[in-house]
Amino acid sequence: MKIIQQRDKLLSNFEVYRHIVDVQKENSWGFTIPKVEKKRKQKFDPRLLDLEIITRDLSQYLVKMDQGNEVKTENFVNLMLVLNTFELEVIEKLMIMNSLPRSLVNLYAIIEECEGRFSQDQCEEMLQNVEKYFPAPVNEDEEEADEEEEIEEDVEMQNADVQVAVDEEDEAAFVQDDEFEHEGFKKKQNEDKEIDEVES
């Protein structure tokens, strides 16, 4: 093996994710995309195990970094066009596209000597455009959480109305199951485990 060119091109996380999706489709794996069963079942090839592992881990990482399926190509292109109007270096643009800064501090961390090169207004504009094309998914989570809480409250209200004796343990289990669907609650899960251990 010979390396001809070390760095031919830099790729953004978005492009990498597109490629990873293609790899998953080719091999009919479904780590982050809906799985499509092939008519002829492919034989499991143990020699491609390494590719499978790296595809799985990398796709999950990119989804966690908000670069997953919901990113639209047009949004990506539009944000890139906006960033081109600023005098940014290529790698700075790349890092903005990868990490999608939501606050001035994060933007300042990415851009070198930001204060000297850009005015406050320009920085604000960049952040607004990031927010416009890539709305922060954190809010959605919070909304969902709010909705869940509301539902829970509703349930409690109903219970109170009908005055049914509620098996507390069951309800607790239901609530927990709900929460565990979010990956962010993994930590909480651990904490709960610890508490259980202490109690037992």
Binding site: M1, K2, I3, I4, Q5, Q6, R7, D8, K9, L10, L11, S12, N13, E15, V16, H19, I20, V23, R47, L48, D50, L51, I53, I54, T55, D57, L58, Q60, Y61, K64, M65, I91, M95, N98, S99, R102, S103, V105, N106, Y108, A109, I110, K186, K187, N190
Partner: protein, 198 residues
């Protein structure tokens, strides 16, 4: 974080893949050889990106397989120096913090490159940054954290020999130095836990 590298390689295509279109079988063999492996002085190869060119292939006497010269582009994980990446804290020790980004976990933040006036707490097993008199911030395990790449270290790792039965097998295995490790820093504003800066 990711880049494309052009390489040329000699690939052996075993006879049972002759029924596939040539480019598919070449891609598959390249993936088998390189995916999830580290190329010294380059980085961690994710997969083959595309093929640039390949010749017709040659047979060797005594072997039914075909040997093809290929020129292709590989998708390589190799963050550049100064890049800001986010990951999760895997381990806190007195020497520093080990960070995991899912598909790669040999990222280390030594204590000298952590925030000034931060110290390690053995009781809590976490690094604590005393920002000012009243504020203490915790770097706990599994916390999402931003860091800046400072250095990349390649080591030549020799293959492991066979385990000899005469040697004391009870001895705990030494932690092997990874073939490709990244040294990161966490010293400026915007680094550290993502939640601090929101």
């Amino acid at each position: 974080m990711f880049q494309l590298s052009v390489i040329s390689d000699l690939i052996r295509i075993p006879p049972h893949l002759f029924n596939l279109p040539r480019d598919i079988s070449i891609k598959q063999e390249l993936n088998v050889k390189h995916a999830n492996k580290i190329i010294p002085k380059l980085g961690l190869v994710i997969s083959v990106y595309d093929l640039i060119e390949y010749d017709t292939g040659l047979f060797r006497p005594g072997d039914g397989a075909m040997y093809v010269n290929v020129k292709c582009r590989l998708l390589v994980f190799k963050p550049f120096i100064g890049e800001v990446i986010s990951g999760w804290i895997e381990k806190c020790t007195a020497d520093g913090i080990k960070v995991n980004i899912g598909f790669f976990n040999d990222i280390f933040i030594p204590k000298a490159l952590l925030f000034e006036s931060s110290y390690f707490s053995i009781d809590e097993n976490a690094w604590i940054w005393k920002m000012d008199e009243d504020t203490t911030l915790y770097l706990d395990i599994n916390e999402k954290i931003n860091f800046r790449i400072e250095e990349e270290v390649f080591t030549n790792v020799k293959p492991k020999g066979p385990v000899s039965s005469t040697e004391n097998s009870n001895q705990p295995e030494k932690e092997q130095t990874p073939p490709y490790a990244l040294i990161a820093s966490c010293q400026t504003d915007g680094m550290g836990c993502c939640s601090w800066w929101e």
